[in-house]
Amino acid sequence: MEKKVYIGCGAGFSGDRFDASIPIVREFKNINGPKYLMFEVLAERTLAIAQQFRLQNSEKGYSPFLDNYISPILSDCLENNIKIISNIGAANPLGAAKRILEIAKKQNITPPKIGVVIGDDLLEYMSDNEILNSPTMEGLDFSNNNITAANVYLGAQPIADALSKDVDLVIVGRTVDSALALGPLIHEYQWKKNDLDLLGAGTICGHLLECGAQVTGAYFADPGFKDVPNLANVGFPIVEFNEDGSFVVTKPKSTGGLVSKATVTEQLLYETHDPSNYLVPDVTADMSSLSLEDDGENRVYVRGGKGKKSPDKLKATICCDNGFMGEAEISYAGPNALARAKLAGEVISERIQILGLQGQIRVEIIGAGSVHFSMDETSSYQLPEDGDYRVRTSAIYPKKYQAQQMVDEVMSLYCCGPAAGGGGRGYVTAQSSTASILVDRDIVNPNVKVKIL
């Protein structure tokens, strides 16, 4: 009989809903067959922050939300043979595994067997100089800054290797998001490195799952034009994968949201560049011959995923300190509000010059198309002179006090600005810039290991 593999996704970013996986686990209780629950919680920036936690305390550095995601479902997953796959390890996958064992102890359940993938942290085996001299793919020049994190994107094979050791959970650090689904598929179907079409199909499946509810009707609703039922209770995705590489995208019963060809197509192209060449460490996935068919209510059947040879080199993300950003806002409303808001923006720009703060300052007017135009650009929206406008200024400076000076200038508009400004708020935040480099597999592979706890 044909073997189906079930994969649910309980989180699509660090900070996603903590209770989203519960309906998936409930649904999985009634399903026989291999079942996996993935949590994708590690964005580019999240890792640099995690590295800072690890430097302060060598036992930390895993996702600060680990307890929130794992505690509610750990015992149900272990009882129902649902394996958890997650990059919740962030900068310290071993520390994350130890924390999960502590949670199990606290909940009085038999300690699970955990596979931990290590080897993504380039700082452990490359010098700063070697990293800085690697070819840059994208991002800013970072040669003058202090490197805070450097992690290579691992593929799905180490996850499959961990699963072959009969573990209950696999915890990784920096790993390409879609591999959280591809790893289980490689393990279950025993795919080989040259099963390129299947590896491509599995990668496309992982890509559709990795942002959680973005494939099941979230981030989609446009009332009156694209309606989504019961968005507040949107169900997170479940894939039913078939041996031939085709699969169904669906969601748990009695949840809100929508799975349609339109929701699946939007997510398919999300953060995709060339759909024929979607690069991950295991394969170059090809979406160009993909077809989608309705397969009943909230079910879309996906087939035609293909694959080509994997890229020669691996991508790594480098994070560096990058000064401090000041952001501040103040509102103007009522008669002639637009003119008063513009005057406030002009006063700030002039004051920054008087204070001798170097660098670009951006002024936006919220209510006037702020996310698409700066104050100096002509908005394509018709803007009433009377209304409700909020001036926002932002700038990045090398020193924290400089960013604070800019924020203070906006606050000074309370007494020194145009008439009737109110609701001033300001923030200074440390900045971390990123760049992507390419690394030889020969440097990385010997350092990638699976540890069993």
Binding site: E44, R45, E138, G139, L140, Y219, F220, D222, G224, F225, K226, K261, A262, T265, E266, Q267, L268, L269, Y270, E271, T272, H273, D274, P275, S276, M287, S288, S289, L290, S291, L292, N322, M325, Q360, I361, R362, E364, I366, S370, V371, H372, F373, E377, S380, R392, S394, A395, I396, Q431, S432, S433, T434, S436
Partner: protein, 124 residues
């Protein structure tokens, strides 16, 4: 069939994603004849003009006819990207709405989904 100029929002939907300083925006037609229109008229030159003021330096267009979808990859449109940008929307998540609003095309009633409020724009 009678055509009037409307935002492409009448016949297509979109989602924006970011990688570094590169924004990608999908444009997906609801209906087959809407696809014919965006395939012919949603050119990369028009998209470049829409994002030029944000610093766009180059636009690539990819086509997925079986999904009625185009994918625009726009270089340098994100003010440096999520970690460097001074913009309120550092990811450029809202740029999909900008494309749907700014790209205006000649549209007939039969390209628009039956329940769409855009039908009210036609007088007959």
């Amino acid at each position: 069939m009678h055509k009037i100029n409307l935002p492409v929002h009448a016949i297509a939907h979109a989602r924006a994603g970011d990688k570094g300083d590169v924004s990608n925006i999908s444009l997906i037609a609801y209906l087959d004849n809407g696809w014919d229109t965006i395939y012919k008229l949603a050119t990369k030159d028009k998209v470049f003009d829409i994002f030029k003021h944000m610093g766009a330096s180059k636009v690539e267009r990819y086509e997925l006819p079986s999904l009625k979808a185009l994918n625009f990859v726009i270089q340098n449109a994100l003010g440096g990207g999520v970690n460097s940008s001074l913009r309120l929307d550092r990811h450029g998540k809202t740029l999909s709405s900008h494309l749907l609003h700014e790209l205006v095309l000649p549209i007939s009633k039969d390209m628009i989904p039956s329940n769409s409020p855009y039908h009210l724009k036609f007088k007959d």
